[in-house]
Amino acid sequence: MNAVAVSVFVFLFLVVTVLGFAAARWRRAERMDNLDEWGLGGRGFGTFIAWFLIGGDLYTAYTFIAVPATLYAGSVVGFFAVPYTIVVYPLIFLFLPKLWSVSHRHGYVTPADFVQGRYDSKPLALAIAITGILATMPYIALQLVGIQVVLDVMGMGQDSDNWVIKDLPLFVAFVILAAYTYSSGLRAPALIAFVKDTLIYLVIIVAVLYLPSQVGGWGHIFDVANDSFTTFNTDNADAIAAGEAAGKGIMPPAAAQWAYASLALGSALALFMYPHSVTAVLSTRNRSVIRRNAALLPAYSFLLGLLALLGFVAIAAGVTVGDPPNPQLAVPQLFENEFPPWFAGVAFAAIVIGALVPAAIMSIAAANLWTRNIYKAFLKRGATDAEEAQQSKLASLVVKFGALVFVLAFSKQYAINLQLLGGVWILQTLPAIVIGLYTRWFHRWALLTGWAVGMAYGTWLAYDVPLPGDPGSHFGGPLVLFPGAETTKVYIALLAIIANLVVSVVLTFVFRAMGVDEGVDQTEDDDYWADEGDQGVELELDPLAEPHR
């Protein structure tokens, strides 16, 4: 533990905590007991703020910790984050303006609102809402894991056998996060986001410019990583042959090509169906803002690629990560070894604050979904504003505790697996949401059955994946063998979505032949093209208002 680094870290963390609580007073609404504070969705954001908001979602603990960790561990498949963040923008460019249009015409605030309006099916909307909440939890869990590894590297609690002491710093960070989200709502992360973004850009730019030159340049870094993996493979040839350890390398083996492509595609399709990204996209001023952002956001992808390669930089810098090794420590440890202590403190604070902000936004988006599409739709139709606000606050607490359970219950060896499990789930809403933007050909009950099959099949596949070298364990990775293939692995989410689509198509024919009621579509073709200034397009979406025809 370095006193200077810890002091700088604690100082910045305290600043953020004070900001978080002070946010309750920032631009105070006239009434604090309603959901208006959740109305970030209704501000009519322009290109600049949207760029910060959406881009901020990309830079989470995931990019700092989990992606470099996989490269450090010799699994180059983790570099799929780069094609993933390339592919996602053309998809956003084509799909999301349609969602913007139909939402702003009908007052939809969540994806479940859209599905309800399009398919006239409360069970299907409920399924979409539940999936959103469920999938958000492992995403938040990933943020908590990120906080945990930073605390570990700083020497807070890692050497204790007592789990209370070991996890105490994480609990403290978690309780503070929960407390200021509870009291300040979306204002807290919105205000802290400024601090977060400044710190993160500073650290990223310094890290990707300064560190590689410190350890001998990129060519040297690739050579050292390659040599180190080759040595590992030679030393562990028997274990690798027996399947007890995974071979390492800086290039993906041919058998992993499908895994690489399917992870990139699956994650790209999943990203914009998460409740928090839909909120960010719907809060833009018009369709052009979304498209312009799709052209501007790849700037983030470039830095993300360099960040991922910090995993190799850590190898070249001779970073070790304990025994048994925890690759997630690689980047924080690299910062501690190579940066002067005060800047290491800044970097640690950036990672932790960079984890807190998305965690807060995600939990609020999930809570919004609960209140709007479950509580008000099913449990209490005539809920008052105060009751709604109370429900949302409680739900955001429950979601965060759910995330904590994920962190404590599942393998922490590869934080990225947690998030990919969420991706498996959220992708099952694609037929109802994305395909629903283009056609209403699918039958609502077929979509619901397809969703259920995809969820069950995907979860079952993921459950059956053991951790490398630990037969009998569960949720050990996002990849399974392609059915019938010997070595070719593929991302579980893609298998599940294929099952989902097949069931949806077949049952649509069946239900239609049986004449099962299809419900009434409240949207018209023209709704999917409406833009700012067109008739009936609301600029500010009111989270309190009911969707309308």
């Binding site: 570099f79 923008y89 460019f93 690739f222 993906p252 369709r287 052209a295 833009d531 008739q535």
Partner: protein, 94 residues
């Protein structure tokens, strides 16, 4: 995933063009065998890495072009719509 307008479709051709323009930004990054090799290296970077990094500015250029085309498409649609629906209030956004 070509976007078509139900009525008045002056922008239809443009939207097909936009989709075709964006296709390489989706297909190339997913076509792993295309770039899964070490050579040629660039500044010590294996091909696998520098090619994917190079795809980012490439995809950006395509998206910027697509954005410019989408503005034209939107404007054409807007004009077509104000002709077919004169009851709408005048629109002066663009």
């Amino acid at each position: 995933m070509s976007e078509t307008r139900p009525h008045a479709s002056p922008s239809r051709g443009l939207w097909i063009l936009i989709t075709v323009l964006l296709a390489p930004a989706v297909v190339l990054p997913l076509w792993v065998p295309l770039y899964n090799r070490t050579d040629p290296e660039l500044n010590g970077w294996p091909f696998f890495y520098w090619f994917q990094m190079a795809l980012i500015p490439f995809a950006t250029v395509l998206t910027v072009l697509a954005f410019a085309l989408s503005r034209i498409a939107d404007r054409k649609d807007r004009e077509a719509r104000s002709e077919t629906r004169r009851q709408e209030p005048p629109e002066g956004q663009r």
